[in-house]
């Protein structure tokens, strides 16, 4: 890390960096500051200080319901993606499977496919098949968007495992199953936990899948927030947004504690 920036280069990088970081934080700071405003409209600059909007939002039954829908959807989708992705990533990494590259590309493909179209295609498909259970359709859609993230983070963790430890255990007579549980798993747990946390946030924040698949009874939080924006103009929108920002900040702290952000992001 040392000595790779000259003095003038450092000034340039730090100066430009500081300005760009301000650009990154600005829209989030505006939203957070307005959520405490005592004015009846979400208009800058905020006036006074109140926690009233947070109280109102948290007491709102529709908000509570949307929050529960989003959390259960994110947990269920992450669990299912893990169940599908873990064995697949392991097989692709540890055994010479013919066509492994193609299969890995297929497993990661939902990432490059436009999410808006993933959701629309699923909507049309399910409607034609007569499957109109919004909860089930949302669950399937959210598995589609979280699966590639889990496959990628699990693959990255498996690649970092010290293979000589596994081989030593095998040589000393442990069964492959015991080697997996006692040698491999402890090494990949932090990476997998980080992957699950990231996958949770992908689902929790998702808009373009839920846009198509939600119905009047099953409304995830982003859809609820979006529909509230067109009929409510007081700072409770900012308060809801701040709660979502808070969830994201907690997730980032979690990632940093679990494996360090750099590793979690693959740098």
């Amino acid at each position: 890390m040392r000595g790779r920036l000259s003095a003038s280069g450092a000034v340039l990088v730090y100066g430009a960096g500081a300005l760009i970081l301000l650009f990154i934080m600005a829209p989030l700071l505006v939203v957070v500051s307005l959520s405490f405003s005592a004015a009846p409209f979400a208009v800058f600059p905020p006036r006074g200080f109140t926690l009233e909007w947070f109280g109102r939002v948290i007491a709102d039954e529709e908000f509570q319901h949307a929050f529960i829908v989003s959390v259960s959807l994110a947990v269920a989708a992450t669990a299912a993606s893990f169940a599908l992705g873990m064995p697949a990533a392991y097989a692709l990494n540890r055994w010479k499977v013919p066509g492994a590259q193609v299969m890995e590309a297929i497993l990661l493909s939902p990432q490059i496919f436009p999410i808006l179209i993933t959701g629309l295609a699923l909507l049309q498909f399910m409607a034609r098949a007569g499957l109109r259970d919004a909860e089930m359709n949302l669950f399937i859609g959210h598995v589609l968007i979280t699966l590639p993230y889990l496959v990628r983070t699990i693959t990255a963790s498996l690649k970092l495992v010290d293979r000589s430890l596994e081989e030593a255990a095998l040589t000393l007579g442990a069964s492959p199953w015991r080697v997996f549980w006692l040698v491999t798993v402890p090494q990949i747990i932090p990476g997998i936990a980080a992957g699950c946390l990231f996958s949770f946030m992908i689902s929790f924040d998702d808009f373009p899948i839920s846009l198509w698949l939600a119905d009047a009874q099953t409304v995830p939080l982003p859809i609820f927030l979006h529909s509230s924006m067109s009929r409510i103009f007081d700072p409770s929108i900012a308060a809801m947004s701040t709660l979502m920002i808070l969830t994201g900040v907690l997730a980032v702290i979690g990632l940093e504690k679990l494996v360090g952000l750099r590793r979690a992001m693959g740098i």
Partner: protein, 306 residues
């Protein structure tokens, strides 16, 4: 470079028992994707080549009429071109902003490097919806928008800036939304550059900016290309940002698709738009992959010739 120099992974060779096991482990995931992504997408994209009937059915006769309308009738063509323009401008600006941040992550002292990393990644886990709402508040056309309020405060706000509900508001917010996805691959590329190469250039008398232009920048091209393709394809496929900030003037392909399907009930046209959006995303991704591999092969050939 490190990626290509690694020895091939020592996979355990595959006796028949393992073959069965690996099939069992891969099959559920692949079958799930086939049933709920591949098949439905083929049906949806196939709609584009068929005809929308009065009854609501999309069925043969097969025709290219939808694509003809999408690409050549002025109203649709405008949206196609605007989408490409917004994606192009967004990737360019994002690149300029991302590079210094990536350099800070790769080269700064550990404290600043970590701080930059946290501030860059944090917005990535905040919903695009919330970030677009933030930009709505910031860019408001009247004096209540934060930007205009600030400009007025410093005495520059004689005429309020009015970029809200234009494609420029979409560009600003898209840059913000996709910036982390450009920073991360560039930072990865930069950290993989062997510092000795840069030091050698400096010791041989290259000025810092020259060493940057001739050594660092070319070696970061894989990350740069990956970042551009990700940002370009995601911007071209975005829905919520143009919906909240673009108004009718800044509507993009995603908004046109939503409108065709939910208001016009024209699934054939919807299929054609979806086809075009998928084509743009795949072209951007495969184009970038091809470019990186082509360069690497060219460099290997060049170094082998010495």
């Amino acid at each position: 470079m490190s990626a290509t120099a690694l020895p091939a992974p020592r996979g355990i060779s595959l006796p028949s028992g393992k073959a069965v096991a690996s099939l069992l482990m891969l099959l559920p995931g692949l079958a799930f994707l086939f049933a709920f992504l591949v098949l439905p997408s083929l049906v949806l994209l196939g709609n584009g080549f068929m005809t929308q009937h009065q009854s609501g059915d999309v069925a043969p006769p097969f025709s290219l009429a939808n694509f003809d309308r999408l690409l050549f009738s002025p109203a649709y063509q405008r949206t196609v071109l605007l989408t490409l323009k917004v994606a192009f401008v967004t990737s360019g600006i994002t690149l300029l902003l991302a590079y210094p941040l990536a350099m800070a992550i790769a080269y700064a002292r550990p404290f600043f490097s970590r701080l930059t990393m946290v501030l860059v990644v944090a917005p990535l886990v905040v919903s695009v919806l919330v970030r677009s709402y933030g930009w709505q508040l910031l860019l408001g056309n009247s004096r209540t928008g934060v930007l205009n309020w600030l400009l007025e405060g410093v005495g520059l706000g004689v005429t309020p800036v009015k970029i809200m509900y234009t494609e420029w508001a979409v560009v600003v917010a898209s840059v913000h939304v996709f910036l982390p996805l450009m920073v991360l691959p560039i930072a990865t590329s930069l950290t993989r550059i062997n510092p000795a190469i840069n030091e050698a250039a400096r010791m041989l008398g290259a000025a810092p900016w020259r060493a940057f232009l001739r050594v660092t920048l070319p070696l970061s091209i894989p990350g740069l290309t990956a970042g551009i393709s990700i940002v370009f394809s995601l911007t071209a496929a975005s829905y919520i940002t143009p919906a909240m900030l673009g108004g009718t003037r800044g509507a993009m392909l995603g908004n046109l698709l939503e409108q065709q399907v939910t208001t016009a009930y024209d699934w054939a046209m919807g299929g054609a738009i979806a086809f075009l959006m998928v084509a743009i995303a795949l072209l951007a991704n495969f184009g970038a992959t091809w470019l990186i591999e082509y360069r690497q092969r060219a460099r290997r050939l060049a170094s082998g010739a010495h």
